[in-house]
């Protein structure tokens, strides 16, 4: 079973997303971090296959977190989760090393995107159109 670390600061959305990943995606969500710093603290003690990161995090942003993770764990796939329907955010995320950019309100697209990334592909939500 695929292990996922979820980095999301909003408690309500984190809660429902956790349940969604477990029940719908049948993933093993090993932990939920509410900030980049918290995630960086947790990762060494976790065995994760993929990290799902909210773009907008307090203090250090999700994109900054990806840059650090790429340096420390270059083989650990990172997938961005965002409410911003912005190709600029998507481009910056992919340039930082993220393997996917998913839109939060595209519920089915979240699972589909994670699967593509796990298959070794780069995935950007269809809603962003041409990238």
């Amino acid at each position: 079973m695929t292990s996922i670390l979820l980095v999301e600061d909003h408690p309500v959305f984190a809660k429902v997303l956790f349940r969604f990943l477990v029940e719908r995606g049948h993933f093993n969500v090993v932990s939920v971090a509410s900030s980049a710093e918290e995630a960086l603290d947790q990762i060494p003690g976790l065995d994760v296959d993929l990290i799902l990161i909210d773009v907008s995090l307090p203090k250090r942003s999700g994109i900054s977190l990806v840059l650090i993770l790429q340096e420390k764990y270059p083989n650990l796939p990172c997938v961005m989760l965002s409410g911003h329907l912005s190709s600029q955010y998507a481009r910056r995320s992919l340039e930082a090393g993220a393997r996917g950019y998913l839109i939060k309100d595209q519920v089915d697209g979240i699972l589909e995107g994670i699967q593509h990334v796990l298959d070794g592909e780069i995935y950007v939500s269809k809603e962003l159109g041409k990238y």
Partner: protein, 637 residues
């Protein structure tokens, strides 16, 4: 020899003719024609009884006839002798005649020679005549051409011309005369007095006679029919030999000239009238100029804007109004005649030498520099901003500049404050927008995503007909929706507290105190001896947000959660004081530093713009007291 009579028919009748033949033996060289010839004379027998007999009668009478013939021969011999003598006589005469003829012939030859000479002379004369004739023809052609030229010239000039002889009879006239006199081509030689004319001129004949008598030309302007006018010139006709052979009249049509003359007279009259009118207007204008000059000086001196009059040539003061003297604290008698530069008040106050010369050139070129802003140091050293204008005028034949300025130092400072404030407001607006965006994205939007995802679980439960699952998930959805509604409600309140609209400042502050208590746990006490004075909505909103900002400051910086808001009414102001007993700060230092006192300075600027003042009193360890004074007369509805 002599022959017998031989009958010869003459006119059908026989007549006896005797032939006498004489050989011609004498011949001369002059008469060669007679050589070897004979003279034959036919002599008619005068006897008319010459019988015509028969043969028998002839034989009987032959003897008789011989006798008769012999007689006749004798007779003839005699006659011949006589003839010969006559002949000789004639020959002598012929010889004499011949000599005469020779003489005549010689004379003839002489005459012929003379004739030859004469002929040559005649030929020479003839040649001369031909030359003269050719010259004459050339002259004639020339005269003919001159005559044609003259006729054409007369026609072209359209000058009607009349030639009269000494008896005032018509000698010649041009076609134009037919319009003036009732004359026709056959009237040459008739006295002019016999003709009527169309001219309104009854002295025509008298004048003509006078010209002939005195030989002095006469010139008159005479009127024709249909308002036509002619210039009539009468002159004696003088031949080349200086003989007076009559009078010549010329009629030049001067109708147009006359009309132009009349128009000119009329125009002249109009012009004179206009000149009079203009003179009158000029006098009026001069009077008005005088009045305007008086008015100008009255306005100049009464003008509340500092104004001076300077000579263009050297910038010397010609005049300065009271406001200028007051502004610079100068006396008129001290500055008149002195260059403005002496007082550091050259053209274009505060400009450098190069800018001054550029401006002077512009004024000379364009006449005026409408308005410009500049700054200069007053004689007391204070920096002042002015809004100035310079105008070129000519006053009493002197090129001068009239300069005026308005001191806009206060306005410039206020504008600077406004610009600073506008920048601060923009920054505050941006911060507020960012805060709102954060609220929308970081909280409300996340809740909406969660609700959407929760709905997908409900949908699944519904499709699976899992009522138990539905019952578990649905209350969660309701809770999140309620929280989302609360977030939007709070956002709306934050943006514009609804209690502020329609409520007084005191009620709004009470509501604010409750909000601060609820959100930040700040305890706000409110004191007011009476209901605070009524403020208009604009002022009320400003003061409300000022109080809220000061209460936020207490939450953030004072280190205490107790605050007091006091309202005090005075005659013309409302004083609002926000105070706390927190840790305090060095207020005088803060209010001089843009970096440290940024928030309070910005608030004070905003309040100042609407006529309010803000006083900050604080010391480290002694809490903070900030008072806002609101002018009442400006704020009443």
């Amino acid at each position: 020899m002599l022959t017998q009579p031989v009958p010869v028919q003459f006119n059908g009748h026989p007549h006896p003719v005797i032939l006498s033949i004489i050989p011609h033996s004498k011949a001369t060289e002059d008469l060669k024609i007679y050589e070897k010839q004979a003279l034959v004379f036919f002599l008619e027998d005068e006897r008319n009884d010459f019988p015509i007999k028969t043969q028998e009668q002839t034989e009987s009478t032959s003897n008789e006839l011989v006798g008769q013939l012999e007689n006749q021969v004798r007779h003839l011999r005699q006659q011949l002798q006589a003839s010969m003598e006559e002949y000789e006589s004639s020959s002598e005469e012929l010889k004499a005649s011949n000599e005469e003829l020779q003489s005549i012939n010689e004379e003839y030859r002489s005459a012929t020679e003379e004739l030859e000479t004469s002929k040559e002379e005649l030929q020479s004369v003839n040649e001369e005549l031909q030359t003269v004739n050719s010259q004459l023809k050339s002259k004639f052609d020339e005269i003919s051409r001159s005559h044609s030229d003259l006729e054409n010239l007369m026609g072209a000039t359209e000058i009607a011309t009349l030639f009269l002889d000494r008896e005032l009879r018509i000698r010649h006239y041009t076609p134009g005369m037919r319009q003036l006199f009732n004359i026709v081509p056959g009237d040459h030689g008739r006295p002019i007095k016999h003709f009527t004319h169309t001219l309104l001129y009854d002295r025509f004949f008298d004048d003509a006679e006078e010209v002939l008598r005195t030989l002095v030309p006469i010139e008159r302007e005479v009127r024709g029919e249909a308002d036509g006018w002619f210039l009539l010139r009468m002159r004696p006709y003088r031949t080349i030999e200086d003989r007076i052979e009559g009078v010549i009249f010329t009629f030049v049509d001067i109708t147009r000239i006359k009309k132009a003359e009349e128009d000119l007279v009329e125009l002249n009259a109009t012009l004179e009238q206009r000149v009079e009118e203009r003179t009158y207007e000029l006098e009026n204008a001069n009077q008005k100029i005088g009045e305007a000059r008086d008015l100008f000086y009255a306005l100049f001196h009464a003008n509340p804007i500092p104004t001076t009059l300077n000579r263009l040539e050297d910038g010397a003061f010609m005049d300065a109004n009271a406001e200028f003297l007051r502004y610079f604290n100068l006396q008129r008698e001290d500055i008149i005649g002195h260059p403005a530069q002496e007082y550091g008040l050259g053209l274009g106050l505060g400009l450098g030498a190069q800018e001054q010369s550029t401006m002077l050139a512009r004024v000379k070129d364009e006449g005026t520099i409408e308005s410009y802003e500049t700054e200069f140091r007053s004689p007391s050293g204070e920096k002042r901003n002015v809004f100035a204008s310079i105008q070129y005028i000519k006053l009493d034949n002197t090129d001068a500049l009239i300069s005026a300025f308005i001191d806009i130092t206060e306005r410039v400072n206020a504008e600077q404050q406004i610009r600073t404030l506008a920048a601060e407001l923009t920054a505050a607006e941006q911060a507020e927008r960012h805060r709102l965006a954060q609220i929308l994205h970081d909280d409300l939007q996340q809740r909406m995503f969660a609700i959407q995802m929760q709905l997908s679980f409900l949908k699944d439960a519904y499709e699976r007909n899992d009522l138990q699952g539905f019952k578990i998930d649905f209350p969660q959805l309701e809770e999140w929706l309620a929280e989302s509604i609360q977030v939007t409600r709070q956002l709306s309140v934050d943006l514009s507290p609804p209690i502020l609209h329609g409520e007084g400042l005191l009620e709004a502050t009470v509501w604010l105190a409750a909000q601060m208590q609820e959100q930040y746990n700040l305890s706000v006490g409110i004191r007011a001896d009476e209901q605070p004075a009524q403020l208009d909505e604009k002022m009320r909103v400003l003061v409300f947000y000022a109080i809220r900002e000061l209460l936020f400051n207490i939450v953030k910086h004072s280190g205490t959660l107790d605050a007091t808001v006091t309202f005090e009414n005075y005659d013309d102001t409302l004083r609002v004081t926000v105070q706390d007993a927190g840790k305090g700060f060095p207020s005088q230092e803060y209010m001089r530093s843009r970096s440290m006192g940024h928030g309070l300075l910005s608030l004070r600027h905003r309040l100042n713009l609407l006529g309010c003042t803000m006083e900050v009193k604080s010391e480290i360890g002694n809490g903070t007291e900030i008072s806002i004074e609101v002018p009442l007369e400006q704020t009443k509805d």
